[in-house]
Structure formats: structure tokens, C-alpha cells
Subunit: 412 residues, 2 copies
DNA sequence: CTATTTTTTTCAAGCTACGAAAAATTAGAA
DNA sequence: TTCTAATTTTTCGTAGCTTGAAAAAAATAG
């Protein structure tokens, strides 16, 4: 609240309010919008007319209402008008998705990049090229947002902070990519992929439009151990963009020494590498690769092989301690597990529950839900699309009016 | 952004913007306000006139500007117009402070209460009586806010959550107190005292009006171990108001068993009781009481007594592990230590630094400041006054116009 | 004493949301 | 079929807000 407000700000806010209601509550009539938002009928009419000139909203027919009176004219969000592009930059390549503003998938693709090390310009080139090829905006298609999800290994686990010599600042990369998209001037945003995954899983686990718990944490282990912290449904970035980073959460004062130099980090217990190694499925034992080793681990767990069971029991205890820290500090109500943790849940649960038992006894009325994620490896891209969508819905006034006349209401 | 906006909302926001600028940047002229806020001269004139009819702002003279041109008419916040009342409910009694909206102290007092257990009504009676006696609002004095800081032991460490049979919901208590203040209808707010202390220390450690780091944590140990988490300068409440609660943060998987049932909680290492016990200064050894034991501990530390030193070294390591959790999870940039921890800092620092060494090596450009608090036991009351002040400054339109004509500008 | 400079105020214009009344459009009743 | 009631949507006049330009106020410099 540090910038002055004027009537234009009021308009922006109310346009967004109406558009978000239409997006969340399916096709609906102007009366319903007025009732739900608290705006007056006349204002809703004006705002809807504005959204229609921008091509964001269309009439799709009328209700066959049983009662008498003028029928309701139903409005819905036009998917094709605004396009969201999401790019997930991982170790090896770039995965692209384009979607409509409703979130529905339009296209998916994959491209190579020059590797996560070295100067940022080649990476920006690669991303911009991939985006330009993927997007062919039609006459009345507006490119609303490009959201880039950065995978872990770029700068020592996080793309967001300029921490080590290797890698680049996310804002810099965003600006470089934006420069390289000549025709399509569209805002570019770079966000950590674990944070985006957290956001996506959080929304995937509840009905759209429903309010979830105010504080939620996400913990995943795949190519690395990472996580995200959501406060009031928003990503908590922290002072340097390292918020929600759980990899080096201390689990035991005298645990094994971690690569980072500390003792007893969570990574040392639940990283894919550590788990496979401890279960006797390290690179030497299973030279076929990680996927083969993971499959073998699954077989052994189901077969009840003692060493595999012991490994996951210990991992469960460590994860439980980390969750205890998270819950104690942030009062999170739900912990979502992602990556390989999803597959291991049956064997992790006993250890987790043991560590949480004390708090559950102390606060019997406050549940702590430990939930498996449902989106798998696609979570980060989902989250990126969702973020782009939220940005467009938050300020519809950014979308210019359509050239072509907006489609007329369907006569009935 | 889920409620409609209209011109009245614009007015409220801009009134607050101007008032907060005047409050933060001393006596200042309309031109400066216009330049700083981005509002236009004409608007600032109108808004200042509005604030003057409400008695919140006065002209205090003109600048003796060296240059030519019409002199600036300086505006300042009127302290006496709005009164803030803060009440700190501790184990034994109620401490009251009344202050002006500038934060300057007007009065302080103390009262008894019926004890933290049992039904909430007697406590509400006691608070309301104390407030009524303390506040004698003059003809043009507006009671802006009553902020009640609840001390730890009320419901198993936190007043904010309905967790155990003993104690009451903070919202309930707030409503009960509000009912019992007949003449003075004023909003009542109940907040955890550790959170308020965190807020107060955070602001005390930097110049007023200055932006601090976005994420800050506060850890204290006096009558209990507690803390608060500030995100973007605001208290993080969490899902159930337990956010920032550090007492049962796990420090070691196989540490001593805590009262809560878990092993290796922070409390077991740094609570006043645990420290005194471990140093051989428990209730049996020093029957004169806690204060005497603490004084003796200080003497032994300065004298280099080995057992005292070992105790605080271990406490430092435990605190370091907790800080490692806090920093890793929230990316806090500053950790403020309060309560007795402030006195023990010289002996805690080695352990803390040992635990933080790994992260400091991993992120050499990201500082982690561990700072002693400066407000001592008064921190919670300070924070309560600050909160009340913030609320009033956030919505000056709540303050009614003055009956009496506002004082005229001082002629020069 | 006049010109200049700087601050503050005044006033018309442009948006915005609101409230009441009118128009549109259907179902049911005569 | 025709009229009436009910419900949704639109139109229109009003009030409040900020803005921008012009006017007024109040000092200094020459």
C-alpha cells in the first residue's frame, strides 16, 4: 500500500474480481457475479462489457431456467484469447508447454540447451528460440506471460540467488530472454521449479476456487532434494529466494557429514543417491542407471528385503524430523511429498508418524496431513502455467482490446 | 483483492499513505509529501485538509528556507488525538501502557488478574476494568486500539490456538473484553506476546521508516522458550496461530526426552530451567529463586567455571541447529535473540557459529546476522503499541472529525 | 517597489461505482 | 391469445475521487 490509488486502480481491481469469478465458477450470469462479488448490477454490466471488448469473456447461451423471468445470459472465459507459455529448464533440456488462460494444454515440446554452466546468454538464446518456435500467435491471440521454471543444479541448488560463481541471476536471465522475443513483447518471470511444483500440487489437491489451508509445505526428492513453502497460497521467497529450501535442514547433530560441510542434513538421508547407496543399489552395483536402480528398489521393498526396508525406515525418521521442524516453525497444516517420495510413502510413513506423534499428542485438535503429490514430474510445468494464468487474471487491463469485433451473443 | 473497490477505498488508501509519510518523515511540507507519494499537489492539499479536520495532523510553523519563494508549511502528527492502549497479560498480572499515536508513552500501570486458568470471563473483566481505569479520554481524544499481548502459559505455550482444555481462544477473549468497554467502542486485538516482541525488536533495530530484511526470526528464552517469524515485516501466524513457535524444534534425533514427548527439542537445551539445572543451579541448589540463580550463573560464566561454560556451549550448539533450521527453511536474514539469551550471547556465539559455518561457506555472499534484542522484557508491550499504531495509521478514516475547531496554523 | 520563485489553493474535467428507474424477456394465468 | 408477474439486464443521473492547469499567496533578490 505504498503507491497512490486512483479510479484506474479501482477499475483494474474490479475487472480482475469479475474475471476471476468467471474463471473459477464456470459459466455464470451477471446477477450471480454481482451477488458473489458485492458489486452492483450496473457495474457488473459495465465491467463485463469491458472484458468482452478485450475478448476475455463471451456469452455462451442462456439458462433454461424453470422459473419465469428473463433468462440468465451465461458468461465464460475465452481460452484462446490469451496464451501462457511455460518453460522448465532442467539439467539436460528445456520442456515447453503452451496453454490457454483457462489452463487447458495447447501444445508441448522439448528443446536442447547449452548446459547450465557458463554465461547466461546462450541459455537465453536457447529459451527464446524454443519459445518463438512454439508460439505462433494468431490474429487475436495475446501472449500473456512466459514463466520459466529453473531446475535445481543451476546455482548450487537454486536458480534464484547469485550464490556461487556458476550460474546466473534469475532476473538477469528473464530480462535477457525478454530482449530476445522481438515481436511478442510479453512479461517474463523466472521462478524456482520446486516452488512452482508446490503451488501446482497445492491447487491440484483441492477443488478449484476452494480455499486451502493457509500454510503448506512441499518436500520432494528426485534429481535433488528441494521444496517450497506456501503462505496464504503464495510462494514464500525469503530474503534471497531461498525460502522453503529443505535440502540442508539439520536432522541430527551428529549425523553423517553432508557435501555442504554440515552434519546430519536431510539430503544425506532422503536424496535419491543416498537412499540407493544405503540400500546397496549404488552406481557400482547397478550400472544400468538410476531408473533401473529405482525399479529394483521398488521390487525389494515389496519383497520385504531387510536392507531396503531399513533404509527407508531411517529416511522416514529423517523426513519426520524435517517435517517436525517445518510444522513447528511455520505451523503448516499440510505437507505434500513429491518426486520419488511419492512412491516410497508406504515405507516412509511409520518413521514420519513416530516423529510427529509428540506434536499430535500435544495438539490433538490440530491435524497435520502428510499427502502424496499427484502431478509427478509435470508439477513444475503445471505450476508455471498456473502462475502465468494468475498473473493475467490479476490484471485483465493488460490485455488489449480485440481488433475483430467480439463475437456476438448466441441467439437462442 | 476479493472485495470490490470504490472511490471511498481510494480515499482511505491515500489518506493512509499521506498520514504514514507524515508519521515516518517528521514534520514535512505538502510538496515533499507529493513528491514522495506520487500524488499531485492538489490531492495532497485535499487529503491534508481531511486529516486536519480529524485532528490527526497540525501545522507547526514554516521553514526558514534560505531560498526565495513561498515558505513551506510544516505538518506533523498530533500525538494526543488518538490513544493506543496495550495490555500484556503474563502469568501473574496485567501490565498496561497507554501511548499516543506517535508511540510516545503517556501512562503505565499494573493490575492483578484471576490467573490464567479457568473460564475467560473473569480475565476479560480484569482487563476491561484495568483499561477503563487507565484511560480517561478527554473531550477530543479518540481511543484507537486496544492490543492485548498474551503470555505463554495460557494454553500450552500459546494463547492463540484452542489447543488444550485450559485457556481460551484469543478471538473470544477479544470479543469479551470489547463487550466490557461500554462507553469506549474501540477495536480489540489479541496477539501472542512473542510475536509482538519480535515485531518490536525488528523495528527497534533499524531507523524508523527504513526497510529491513524481508524475513526475520526472533527467538527468546525467559519464562519459556518462544519466538516469532516476520515475513515482509508482518507476523506470520500460520494455519493455527502457532507460526514461529520454536520451543519444540527438533535439535537432535536422540537428545533428551522433552516434556512434550519428543526427543531433543530446543527447549531441553535453552530454557531457563534446563540451563540452570544443567549448570548445577537448580531449585534445590539455589532456593532463593530464579533471579538469584541467574545472577549466580552470570558470575560463574564470567569467572570461567567449567560446568557453566559447558552448559552454555551445548545450548549454543542447540540454538545454532535451530537457527540452521530457521534459516534453511525460511531464508531469514536476521535472527534476533531475546530474553535471557541476550545476556548469554558471548558464551552462546561459538556454538552458534559452528553450526552456521557450513551455510556461510555454501553461500558466502548471503550474511546471516544473529543480533541481540535491545528491548528486554518491555518488548511485547512495545510491539503491542506499535501494532495499534500501525492499525490506526492504516485507516485514518476510522478516526471521526473533531468536535472543536481544529487549531489554526501558527502565524509566523 | 517590482520581478521572480516556490508553495499552496481553486476549479473544471474525466473516471468510476452507485442507486433508481426503465427495458427486455420469459412463464403462468385469464 | 393476451395480460400480468417475475427476473435479469441495461440506461441514466448523481456523487466522490484524482488529475491538470491556472490562480493565489508569500517569501527573496535586485
Amino acid at each position: 500500500m505504498n503507491s497512490p490509488a486512483d479510479s484506474a486502480a479501482v477499475r483494474r481491481g474490479n475487472l480482475s474480481l469479475v474475471l476471476r469469478h468467471i474463471a473459477a465458477h464456470g459459466p455464470c450470469a451477471r446477477t450471480e457475479i454481482a451477488a458473489a462479488t458485492g458489486l452492483v448490477h450496473a457495474t457488473v454490466t459495465a465491467l463485463v462489457a469491458d472484458l468482452m471488448t478485450r475478448g476475455l469473456v463471451e456469452e455462451v447461451g442462456v439458462t433454461a431456467s424453470g422459473s419465469r423471468g428473463r433468462p440468465r445470459r451465461l458468461l465464460h472465459l475465452v481460452a484462446e484469447r490469451v496464451r501462457i507459455v511455460a518453460a522448465h529448464v532442467t539439467w539436460g533440456d528445456i520442456r515447453l508447454v503452451t496453454a490457454g488462460v483457462t489452463g487447458e494444454l495447447i501444445d508441448a515440446g522439448r528443446a536442447r540447451h547449452p548446459g547450465p554452466f557458463g554465461p547466461p546468454e546462450p541459455m537465453a538464446d536457447a529459451i527464446a528460440t524454443a519459445v518463438t518456435e512454439a508460439v505462433s500467435p494468431g490474429p487475436d491471440v495475446h501472449l500473456g506471460r512466459l514463466v520459466i521454471a529453473m531446475s535445481g543444479p543451476v546455482t548450487s541448488g537454486r536458480a534464484k540467488a547469485p550464490t556461487e560463481g556458476v550460474g546466473w541471476h534469475a532476473p538477469t536471465l528473464g530480462a535477457l530472454v525478454a530482449e530476445r522475443l522481438p515481436g511478442l513483447s510479453c512479461p517474463v518471470e523466472v521462478v524456482n521449479d520446486a516452488d512452482l511444483a508446490a503451488l501446482a500440487e497445492y491447487h491440484a489437491l483441492r477443488l478449484p476456487g476452494t480455499e486451502g489451508p493457509s500454510t503448506v509445505a512441499y518436500v520432494k526428492s528426485d534429481s535433488g532434494v528441494g521444496g517450497g513453502l506456501l503462505i496464504n497460497g503464495r510462494i514464500h521467497q525469503g530474503s534471497h529466494g531461498l525460502g522453503g529450501e529443505v535440502a540442508h535442514l539439520p536432522v541430527s547433530l551428529d549425523g553423517p557429514r553432508c557435501r555442504c560441510g554440515a552434519h546430519g542434513c536431510l539430503t544425506a538421508y532422503v536424496s535419491t543417491h543416498a537412499v540407493l547407496e544405503s540400500a546397496g543399489l549404488g552406481r557400482e552395483s547397478v550400472p544400468e542407471g538410476i531408473d533401473a536402480a529405482l525399479a529394483e528398489l521398488g521390487r525389494r521393498l515389496r519383497a520385504g528385503e531387510p536392507r531396503a526396508l531399513a533404509t527407508l525406515d531411517q529416511a522416514g525418521h529423517a523426513l519426520g524430523a524435517a517435517i517436525q521442524s517445518i510444522v513447528g516453525l511455520t505451523d503448516a497444516e499440510e505437507i505434500i511429498l513429491g518426486g520419488h517420495l511419492t512412491d516410497w510413502i508406504p515405507w516412509l510413513t511409520p518413521g514420519i508418524d513416530t516423529r510427529l506423534a509428540a506434536r499430535r499428542r500435544a495438539f490433538p485438535t490440530l491435524p497435520i496431513a502428510v499427502t502424496p503429490g499427484v502431478l509427478g514430474a509435470r508439477a513444475a510445468l503445471h505450476g508455471a502455467v498456473q502462475t502465468g494464468r494468475d498473473r493475467v487474471l490479476a490484471d485483465p487491463a493488460e490485455v488489449p482490446p480485440c481488433r475483430a469485433r467480439p463475437s456476438q451473443a448466441h441467439p437462442v
